[in-house]
Symmetry: C2
Subunit: 205 residues, 2 copies
């Protein structure tokens, strides 16, 4: 049965929220009614934060990270190791890696992965800017930090062919059973690969 909504204005706002990923109509209604309780300035601030973001956000011309200016805060940070480039699918991956607080190199955001099924080829991705960075020199190592699936593997393979022979070390992030992860609940592929790719005991410490 269709949800009764007493007002078109309300219904419109609920529709907009319900289009967001993972937000159902009940949650959308709760969020909208919550916003409606606030004063007008607060509601305007909410709405403006979105439109201003969309209108003024920029993409770093070096790495493709989101930025308020032409180049992002990581690419302009002289204390980072600019000879190390970590290739990621999207900005959320940068945020996740930065969260660890241990990586001090730079990034390169592809903006997707090669997926012939979805009609995404290399030309749809942010790859020419990566080769440009390589041509300019100064890069010693490129780390692939892409999803461990068909698309990620295809993209790694494509990029490794593109980069190889240029004297740059190519690596990829380690795959295996998560630290603190229970063997019993680890999926079979991860578990079998982690046995295949076992490392010398004490070697990674």
């Amino acid at each position: 049965m269709e949800q009764y909504i007493p007002s078109k204005l309300l219904s419109n706002a609920v529709d907009q929220f319900a289009k967001l990923p993972g937000v159902g109509r009940r949650t959308a209604l709760r969020l909208v009614l919550e916003l409606l309780k606030r004063d007008e300035n607060s509601v305007t601030a909410f709405a403006n934060s979105i439109t201003e973001l969309k209108q003024n956000i920029r993409t770093c011309k070096i790495c493709g990270n989101l930025s308020d200016s032409e180049t992002c805060s990581i690419c302009t940070n002289h204390s980072r190791n600019h000879s190390l480039v970590c290739v990621v699918e999207n900005v959320r991956d940068i945020i996740a890696i930065e969260q660890t607080g241990t990586y001090r190199g730079t990034y390169h955001v592809l903006g997707g992965l090669i997926s012939p099924m979805d009609g995404i080829g290399p030309s749809e991705l942010n790859i020419s800017s990566l080769t440009q960075r390589i041509e300019q020199g100064g890069i010693d190592e490129i780390i692939f930090a892409l999803s461990a699936n068909m698309e990620g593997d295809t993209t790694c393979f494509y990029l490794s062919r593109l980069i190889s022979g240029k004297g740059i070390k190519i690596s990829q992030i380690a795959r295996g059973v998560a630290f603190g992860g229970d063997l019993e609940y680890t999926d079979e592929i991860t578990l079998s690969r982690s046995i295949e790719n076992r490392t010398e005991y004490g070697g990674s410490l």
Copy 2:
């Protein structure tokens, strides 16, 4: 550790979303990045739906329901039973009851419950408009559909004293074990009250 966000604009939008009830910073980031993927028109439509709602939504002058005009779609509906008024705390309760599709009377939205602890007295609530409706006549029965807690009980008691002696039937929604509800998982108060207030077998069918 504080979340790394590559842009002040992004960070501002994430802050705004994270202020919504039940939305953490990770979810906020996911929603904002999802919005950012859309074209500018779609983002503007999202933002406008909120500001337009806040600026133009009205409160029904009869019952307090949200409305696009002076009186709501229920109060102006001649096929509803206007002699029956269901008193609810908020608009979400109206939506929940309308969802059942079985109630054909009208509503009255209090906009809260009497709560001396939170400094909410009768004057903070939408009660004078209820007595006004009663004075105008035509109401046969008032149903209290308020929360079964201290505040709900206090409000019911206050309203019943206000209404009684005016020849209007006062009722409240039935409380008990939910249909399909498992006795084992029903809380003790509901269970003991449902035994106390047992009804004749077959009586409610």
